[in-house]
Amino acid sequence: MERKGARRFQVLDLLQEEGGAAAGTAARVGAQTGVPDADVYGVSTFYSLLRKPGRRTRVCQGLTCKLAGSDARVAALRATGEEVEEVSCLGQCDRAPVGLDADHEALLWGEPGSISPADTDLPMNLAGDDDFSFSALARARELGPNAVIAELKAGGLQGRGGAGFPAHFKWNAVRTQPPGDSYVVVNADEGEPGTFKDREVMLRRPGLMLEGAAIAAYVAGAAVLFIYVRGEFKDCIRSLEGAITAAADHLDWLDIRIVEGHGAYICGEETALLEAIEGRRGMPRLKPPYPTESGLWGKSTLMNNVETLACVPSIVTRGGDWFAAQGKTEPGSKLYCVSGHVGRPGVYELPLGVTLDELVEAAGGYVGTPQAFSPGGASSGFLPMSFRDTPLDFGGLVKAGSMFGSSGLVVLNDTIDMAMAARHGLVFFEDESCGQCTPCRVGCVVQRQSLDRYLETGDASHLEHAEDVAWEMDEGSICGLGMVASWPLTTAMKHFPAAFEDRTIDE
């Protein structure tokens, strides 16, 4: 049991200073924080940037990076005697292949990604300039919390972190909590394979996001704002720090704390993220209670995604109706990430509800003959090109048996073996499962091993239980990761059955 007054929230930073889970580290960090040594050890072995001490280069093993030749990078680095670790998607798919140096700085080996051209009529306008007058915050204060929430409602703003939950509900829930300390948390842990929009917001418009977060803090009556940024995004952290300094005059009432992630996709899940801020293993909590009732240190907590908050200033200044009108099938504009077999991978701000063809047209057209796409990162599985006219929005993709998620679109042309593509998704979830609940902990391995046996032998009977296992992962898992972790396999099997028939394996 931790000592009274223990400084648990310092555990992760101290572990990072120590360079990870080396012998003796847990005892030293335990002594400094009052958290039991074993507990510290358990925390240190959870996070991929901490669990193995020592310096090494990390190379992304995501699908897009593999397609762009990351294997050759790994081989070349190893040939120079360098220690290389292959890691989960680094959130740079538009610049593939990519890596991370020993100081966790990004190694960008590919071409830079594109963005939409500047246009002041775009709510986020990534190519525009940040404006540190914070006039939207001033306007929000004039309107008052209830009117701000009413504008969000009129704007129909749906959470951009993946679930599409109406923002005004959560803001209102925090407003209606009994007075007391409350927190606002920005979810900047962007880790869904194929997704890199929050990165671009933080790099290009950190002030916009910060202003949205400040408005959230004002409405929630919070005095402390946490920004949880994935540890692989060092440049985003520097960019945010710059914006906090530039906006200091407007934010003296707000205590802003940037918390760095340490390598765990699951910490993007809201309750796992709260555990990570508190200094624990990033294992999702049971809901209820929801964070708005009992979040960080048990206090009412409002959490939103970076992009969600970046939409807020324009909603406040130009009105909810204006924002809603920017959408096509659903309200607002949307940052679409697109990578894979397209001409100009990047982040495009388009009306919510464009089709794949419209999006890819903005992104320089298809490369080769398209075969499949993931509409919302690995979690959304694969759809065949017959869905190219389906609106890419929250409602439409659910109807298509998929989901919009974080709008990380990955396009695959017909040179890709869909069974191999599915395998990449399965490996990702297996590596990133927190391991807390059995359907996900065991199910992820069962699925990946079955697919491996099929790929080794060509015998399709190895996949006979895939549907049953996927069903239980969906029904029985605690959080969204386990619920969708089979989708790369089951959606590929459903839409590309030929790729999963008995096949002859070349010796």
């Binding site: 049991m1 931790e2 012998a23 003796g24 847990a26 005892a27 335990g30 039991p36 040594d37 074993a38 507990d39 510290v40 050890y41 358990g42 072995t45 959870f46 669990r51 765990a264 293993r281 049971l286 209820p288 297996e430 590596d431 990133e432 499962s433 927190c434 391991g435 807390q436 609940c437 059995t438 359907p439 902990r441 065991v442 199910g443 992820c444 391995v445 069962v446 091993q449 006979e464 239980h465 049953d468 296992v469 069903w471 239980e472 029904e475 029985g476 898992s477 605690i478």
Partner: protein
């Protein structure tokens, strides 16, 4: 707020105290909801997913052990969906557990709840073993054995060590399918803060955490004798497991049934070797004029002791005597010692060695 709430479980209306979980409500209705990570002494974790039930109005199945019972809820514990969930889940557990020749989760000295659930509910598809390697450790401690291949990562041991013992010697470590139980830096328990209370063994549902000396012994050929621990005055109840007239191990009665609520300390749980030890004194010994110890009867021994003590009192006065009772004595025994001291010998020089 009213003190009780009413809800419907499998068609039967039940009433439970406000603040109860669904597990309390389903138990009240007599429904057999299987659990693994649940221990009434611990905060619910809800991670084993064994206890999921259907709650009308909830899209997802919900963990009975953690989900709050609410007024008017309608709960189903054995629909086709719940049954299928249990079976496929148990298939997954079996793919990650030491199995016996019949393909069932291995039997263990203290039982294996996983095996019991497989027997009661059956399994779905037979899945190949996943064989994930897990970090293990050399641990020369005399009492506690940990088998990573039978561990289901329910964290009952970890939560017990934290929430009941307040020791936190062990932790969940690694993540994903490599998740396992570890000490800080994987040192042996003797080098950790562990107090060897053995509570982690007691709470473990599968026998992955087990008693070293009872490894391989199954409960079936044992006689169980309920007894009271005589190491201190608390009066913890324990179950002595007797094989061929010898105590082979000790377990605690289930939580909630006796004063010690399923807990024991290192002495009560493990220190039984003295029972059959050749050096153990089983009859009183009196030192004779020849300087040697000779076997005697209790009457003789008490007479000699009394005479010796009375002799001191007569020669030097009662306050030359002092009575110190053992910390193993009960309150009643301590009462008798002070009675002996004050009434029989006339001195207030009496003390109990556990008094501070």
């Amino acid at each position: 707020m009213s003190d009780t709430i009413r809800l419907v479980v499998d068609g039967e209306e039940v009433e439970v105290p406000t603040g109860s979980t669904l597990l309390a409500a389903t138990a009240r209705a007599g429904a057999d909801v299987p659990t693994l990570c649940h221990d009434p002494r611990l905060d619910p974790m809800g991670s084993c997913r064994m206890c999921l039930v259907e709650v009308e109005g909830q899209r997802r199945l919900q963990p009975a052990c953690a989900y709050p019972a609410m007024e008017g809820q309608v709960v189903h514990t054995s629909t086709d969906r719940v049954e299928r969930h249990r079976q496929v889940l148990l298939s997954m557990y079996c793919a990650d557990h030491t199995l016996d020749a019949d393909g069932l989760p291995a039997e263990r000295a203290l039982g294996n709840q996983l095996r019991a659930h497989v027997e009661a509910f059956g399994t779905g598809p037979t899945l190949p073993p996943i064989g994930t390697p897990r970090a293990g450790r050399e641990d020369p401690n005399p009492y506690i054995h940990f088998d990573p291949d039978s561990c289901i990562a329910c964290a009952r041991c970890v939560r017990y060590c934290d929430e009941v013992e307040a020791v936190s010697a062990i932790t969940l470590a690694m993540r994903g399918s490599s998740t396992t139980i570890a000490t800080a830096d994987q040192v042996g328990l003797l080098d950790s803060s562990c107090e060897l209370c053995g509570g982690c063994i007691d709470t473990c549902p599968t026998g992955a955490m087990s008693e070293k000396r009872a490894l391989g012994l199954l409960g079936a050929d044992e006689e169980t004798v309920r007894s009271t621990c005589n190491f201190c005055g608390v009066g913890c109840q324990l179950d002595l497991h007797v094989r061929d007239g010898e105590v082979v191990r000790v377990s605690s009665p289930p939580p909630g049934t006796t004063v010690n609520d399923g807990n024991l300390c290192v002495k009560g749980r493990f220190a039984t070797e003295f029972i059959n030890h050749p050096d153990r004194l089983t009859v009183p010994l009196i030192r004779g004029d020849d300087g040697e110890l000779h076997e005697a009867t209790w009457d003789e021994a008490i007479r000699v002791t009394a005479a010796g003590l009375m002799g001191v009192k007569e020669r030097y006065g009662a306050d030359a005597l002092g009575f110190v009772s053992s910390s193993r004595c009960t309150g009643e025994e301590n009462y008798l010692v002070q009675k002996l001291s004050r009434a029989a010998f006339g001195t207030n020089n009496c003390h109990q060695c556990a008094a501070t």
